[in-house]
Symmetry: C2
Subunit: 136 residues, 2 copies
């Protein structure tokens, strides 16, 4: 029996499901400091982008571009940050973040800068409804 995709428990803890796109789960990091999203390919035992098939790599970058465009339209950030790091959580996940000159970490990268400020349930509900309307 082939292994099934399972989200890494740390990613499950830090983020909220928004949508299933053709390759990836689109998830929101639960931190109001930044509009911070991750794309998690629904594949098993993949640590690096280059471990995906070529077809899946193409899909990942298409979904990254789509997410980038949506963040730009919805938030109008000063800059987008796009990053596959994974030094702590080895399951491949791509960060796509809207950055602002007045945000909590600017101009530094956001990781480890300030404590996350969780969304309220109501804020999450609005965001989930909004993002589920973005076509896959």
């Amino acid at each position: 029996m082939s292994e099934q995709f399972q989200l890494h428990p740390q990613l499950a803890k830090d983020s909220i499901w928004l949508a299933d796109w053709p390759l990836c789960q689109l998830r929101l990091i639960n931190d109001t400091n930044y509009p911070w999203f991750i794309l998690v390919p629904r594949r098993v035992n993949i640590k690096e982008v280059i471990d995906l098939t070529e077809e899946d790599q193409t899909s990942l970058w298409q979904e990254s571009a789509k997410l980038s465009r949506l963040i730009r339209v919805k938030y109008n950030p000063e800059k987008l940050n796009v990053a596959a790091l994974g030094n702590i959580v080895p399951q491949l996940h791509l960060h796509v973040i809207g950055r602002f000159i007045e945000d909590a970490a600017w101009p530094a990268p956001i990781w480890g800068k300030v404590a996350p400020q969780p969304y309220t349930k109501q804020q999450l509900s609005v965001l989930q409804q909004d993002w589920s309307a973005a076509e896959s």
Copy 2:
């Protein structure tokens, strides 16, 4: 007259030219703490990956994959970090870095962690020769 590509002076200061690939300049960040490379698309006035044409985006990710595979073969890192940040230097550049459990910043992202440790001229000469041999 159309504008010509010019490398941002901060990138010129921090890194050394290794090769011209079809889309990007491949450059080495002058810091022996990590095998740290950047890909700079030879395009004018581009801040974000999604500002490149679709064809150029495809080239960028192909060159990123090629660079990732070369870093893996040459250095055998624990993890690859791939990131387009650009909060300080707005000219689009993609970082591709080999990370090790014993490196100076592990498991944190590398930016701003420790002072760069420049290569010697001899080390740079060896690296330039080695990387110029990698086919574009």
